[in-house]
Assembly symmetry: C2
Homo-oligomer: 328 residues x 2
């Protein structure tokens, strides 16, 4: 393993010059820069991670902090997000790592920060008013939240523009004449953005709360028309259960889109096309969004502590018609 000293010797310059070539924090003439880079290439020199961190450089490593990636039934979406982040930061010469935290215990987070081996943190699977955000804030680590946790507090985030995603889905259903809309969700309450969007369009919402698994969808399909005679349109916030629901409903004689129109807003294309019939969605480009999140993370790290400006991004997708909706 060659060191900075080896590179300096081979290039005939001082060690600090090598450092400045790499960091670009001081001007270096083109000629020496070339020589140094050639030496680096020839020796296959790699920056020693630990030494750089010790000497005060921010490590070129991004940590994805996630708690429920492995406890809950794993979703394709989580996979797409992880994958996107990895590729997003890779392009900038950063590495990425997943830091599994087992529970609500803060000690895992603080461990990570104390180790100081991570240049930035991407917080995933956030909840409303997630306390971890404040832990990160206090620790003064550059971080980006994938999702949003609360208002009135400035932080970097990348999220879906749920306000418009819901509006898009509901507007489509309303245009087709549907007024009583079922909401397939894993929560016991309807999300505020969704309530607001429905109110504006004067639609009636009906919460259909199920677990996001195969069983959840099947259970919901059973006696659906008897239980929810008014519901003709559905907006679904789940993925796995939605596929099962559509399959199950169809096989027991409910026609989609004849009897029920359904729009998914939280599914990957692959999933939306795995059911029969296929499911129209408001596209959720999870992978692309995660790539962008990774890039923003890198920008935030490189901007350094000096920059107080927070970056954020909201993603809407197009409505993709796969034929699961029709005129009432």
């Amino acid at each position: 393993m060659s060191t900075r000293a080896d590179v300096a010797k081979l290039a005939g310059v001082s060690e600090s010059t090598v450092s400045y070539v790499l960091s670009g924090k001081r001007p270096i003439s083109d000629s020496t820069k070339q020589r140094v880079l050639a030496a680096i290439d020839q020796l296959g020199y790699k920056l020693n991670y630990a030494a750089a961190a010790l000497a005060g450089g921010s490590p070129r490593m991004v940590t994805m902090m996630t708690s429920n990636l492995f406890l809950a039934p794993p979703s394709r979406i989580d996979g797409a997000l992880v994958d996107g982040i990895v590729n997003g930061v890779r392009g900038s010469g950063f590495h990425s790592v997943i830091w599994p935290i087992s529970n609500e215990d803060d000690s895992d987070i603080e461990m990570l920060l104390e180790l100081n081996f991570s240049g930035g943190v991407i917080l995933m699977n956030v909840m409303e008013n997630d306390p971890r955000v404040h832990t990160l804030e206090r620790a003064k680590v550059p971080f980006v939240v994938l999702g949003r946790t609360e208002v009135g507090f400035a932080y970097n985030y990348v999220d879906r523009d749920f306000e418009n995603v819901y509006k898009l889905a509901l507007a489509h259903l309303k245009e087709l004449g549907h007024t009583h809309i079922g909401v397939i969700s894993g929560n016991s309450e309807i999300h505020d953005f969704l309530k607001k969007a429905a109110a504006k369009l004067k639609l009636t919402l009906n919460l259909l709360s199920i677990r996001n698994n195969h069983d959840g969808g099947i259970t919901l399909a059973k006696d659906f028309t008897k239980k929810y005679p008014n519901v003709t349109g559905i907006i679904s916030l789940l993925d796995i259960a939605t596929v099962s629901f559509v399959n199950a409903a169809t096989s027991q004689g409910i026609s989609i889109p004849g009897d029920i129109s359904i729009v998914g807003v939280n599914m990957l294309e692959e999933q939306a096309e795995s059911s029969s019939p296929k499911i129209s969605t408001v596209a959720f480009n999870a992978y692309e969004m995660a790539i962008s999140c990774g890039k923003i993370m890198v920008e935030v790290i490189e901007a350094g502590k000096n920059s107080k400006k927070k970056k954020s991004e909201l993603w809407v997708g197009d409505f993709i018609d796969r034929g699961s909706t029709s005129q009432l």
Copy 2:
């Protein structure tokens, strides 16, 4: 953030004494040991990760190296394994981290090693003759393979004792009078251990190769009895598809265990109990196995380069009767 110097000053000892208290590599009298520990406690001192790594200490961090955790449909089993490893090493004061590698490209692995921020590597999702094993071997990093990749090459591993797992499942089916056994698998060939076990018991195997998803199970169930009239017993190496198969077969009038007896060998209990009827299995204690793997990893790291002895462990589970098999 307090340092070793702070602790030394407070305890009234030299810095090296503090180090030796922590590492235990030189004898320290009880009285000073107590004083040092008290000072550490009082200051909330934490070993600086980067400095320790730089100075040559092996970092108290374990890296799980996995490629297809996020590309393939995620399985509950992978989750259980990750979770087990995390908890297994946590008990020994190690941290663990997932290093996602995107493809067959070795550069990701070498990056990890060059960074030298990992005390040991647990290689997951290994294939037969996995080249990564040799990369790790060459790099002289302590590593443990979760699974087995090839014979005639000494490395640390933890794996299921497939030879006996298969034997247990097949013997059970044979006792009940089944002679033509279907093998539900995702591969295009039958695993050697399984072939051998069948040969010894004079059973005929019939490969039923499907994808490990909901569709795979349903497709297989369709016209099963027409396509495979001889097959009365099944040993399934998949999890998700098996649940779907059992559900689908049952709902189209095939009686389990009346018409077909089935034994799963690669499922979590939770999964085996989610179908109707439930599925008898040879228990796969993935979580417990992973905990053990984590502990072995720590042992290997702490044994250091001096110890040439390789550790390995093979796990068999009990046959758990859930009523999915019966006398022919």
